[in-house]
Symmetry: C2
Subunit: 340 residues, 2 copies
């Protein structure tokens, strides 16, 4: 017969109350709940009945303390607008769940002290994945590194912190070359390479494609990647401040906003200006002309991140080389290709 140290009925059932009701020891209850050890089916049933009757919900914190694992992964995202982050989150959560890990999410946007928030997060998870190095002050990254496994998604791996990402430079080069092959000569890269590591990579590809033809592209139009920024770029084009016969945008939001503004002003896309983007968001296939863009395996990226964390928590060594997933060029008609 088990002893119940202090039964607080209001607080809900504990392993003690379950044991008491089932007439067994707490060790037995623990065994049947964990499926560990061997328990006679008769005893097991008694325990299960008690659990059911008491509506027992184990206290995760107590278990975590005992097993010395949170069984949870942390994911730090800058924000959640557009399909990119959602897809990443889906992939991450799904894989984490398959591996028996919960996921605790943190959005940095709007948080005053990101460092504090991340440390707080570190308090309750076994490992952390962060999207883009910019989202997390390097100091925090270093602090966490060595304490908990950390992987950076789509960011520049720093100080030997493991990274996973999608291929950017090569597909940017392919995309740019595709536009160049349409006879366009004055391409403009819209987006700030300094804003995010993967944007930087895309710009590298953009430049490389030009270089391959002995060309030197104009300087990038450094803007953030919201729709408003895309509209603003279109305005600058319309006013003559900027000149181009093709816009290679850092993402689809930018491309769509620019394209639509241009069209509303009477410009022909792609006749007057070709416009291409990145991400293949839903809208990209609804607009006319359809937006030529690059599709990234974002969901898989999230899954890979979750997997790496799990492996690291299990004692696996960090990979030295970042894992990079392939991307795919999606050609529609905004680039100047004829309608199918």
């Amino acid at each position: 017969m088990a002893t119940v140290p202090s039964s607080s009925p209001s607080t809900g059932a504990t392993i003690y109350s379950v044991a008491e009701r089932a007439g067994v020891s707490i060790a037995t209850v623990s065994r049947v709940l964990q499926g560990a050890g061997t328990v006679s089916s008769k005893t097991s049933q008694k325990v299960l009945d008690a659990v059911d009757a008491l509506n027992y919900v184990p206290l995760g914190a107590a278990r975590s303390l005992a097993v010395r694992h949170h069984e949870a992964h942390g994911l730090v995202l800058p924000e959640l607008s557009g399909p990119y982050y959602s897809e990443l989150l889906i992939g991450f959560e799904s894989r984490a769940a398959e591996l028996g890990q919960s996921v605790t999410l943190m959005l940095t946007e709007g948080k005053g002290d990101i460092g504090r928030a991340v440390r707080q997060l570190a308090t309750r998870v076994d490992a952390i994945a962060v999207l883009g190095s910019a989202a997390m002050p390097p100091a925090v990254a270093r602090a966490l590194h060595g304490q908990k496994p950390v992987v950076i998604i789509a960011g520049t791996p720093q100080d030997g912190i493991e990274g996973v990402g999608a291929e950017n430079a090569a597909s940017a080069e392919r995309l740019t070359e595709h536009v160049l092959a349409h006879g366009r000569t004055r391409l403009l890269f819209v987006g700030d390479p300094a804003g995010a590591p993967d944007i930087a990579d895309r710009h590298v590809g953009f430049v490389a494609a030009h270089a391959a033809r002995g060309l030197v592209p104009a300087a990038p139009v450094r803007v953030a990647f919201r729709e408003a920024d895309g509209r603003a770029v279109a305005e600058r084009l319309l006013s003559g401040e900027l000149e181009a016969d093709a816009l290679v945008c850092a993402n689809d939001e930018l491309a769509l906003a620019a394209m639509t503004r241009l069209q509303d002003a009477g410009r022909d896309v792609p006749g007057d200006v070709a416009v291409v983007g990145w991400d293949d968001v839903m809208t990209a296939r609804y607009v006319r002309p359809g937006l030529t863009t690059v599709r990234q395996p974002v969901r898989e990226l999230g899954a890979v991140a979750a997997e790496r964390l799990h492996d690291r928590v299990a004692g696996g060594a960090p990979r030295l080389e970042p894992q990079v997933l392939a991307t795919e060029l999606v050609v529609r008609t905004s680039c100047g290709c004829p309608r199918p």
Copy 2:
């Protein structure tokens, strides 16, 4: 001088190692870290230094066990496609963070045993918000209810479980009346009222608007709300199986897919058929004609849910009446309104 029970350097610093290094007791360390009690600034600094030197990250589980609170809220979402869920999540996370709560996310899509997953979640959070009652088997809802505070978002409140949601019926009625006022007579409701509680409410409004004019609408076209379903409905319209001069769709994905397919087949929207939707997704303002739809304060909805959970955890009583937020009709031109 503090005693360190068992120092495992590999496992990272504990409150004991910090105390030892700072030459104080663990109680003092706890005090400065929690900002509770009073500690001389000199001692405080010593502790902070030790924390820093050891790169101490407290173990959340231990704290949770001691304070008997997880300081975390759970959020259960069916999936994460489209902007609706993301917005909700943003609102929820932001408000939760402001209240000092972490958020643990769970997606039911793809999970075999949702009940098991929810119970597992309940293990590590103080309270749970669930989107749509359909996502969580009633049995689980009952089991959790009484154990942990639960609020249902945009679902039919059951058994006195608290609910929060956006207004649906009245705006659906307004939207439908708007279409009717354009002289349309054969409206079709596209979406399955049985699929989700808020769809049911929208259908109620749809019927009410007809009733107000002494009309009886056709039976709803019961389909899920993915793009493929919208295209399928368009096909049935094109083939003559379905007949209508206006489509009132349960959400924008459906509306956009149907509208585009119709246009690709040469139909004029809104000339031949008006199409309206729900949610005001990004694409809605990019397509031509612009999609007339209804905007919901989704982000705020998430915030309210987080707030309610927090209040309940603090001992607040569940609200008897569901909290419902106002929605807004967004009139563009797909309904038949003239271009501005």
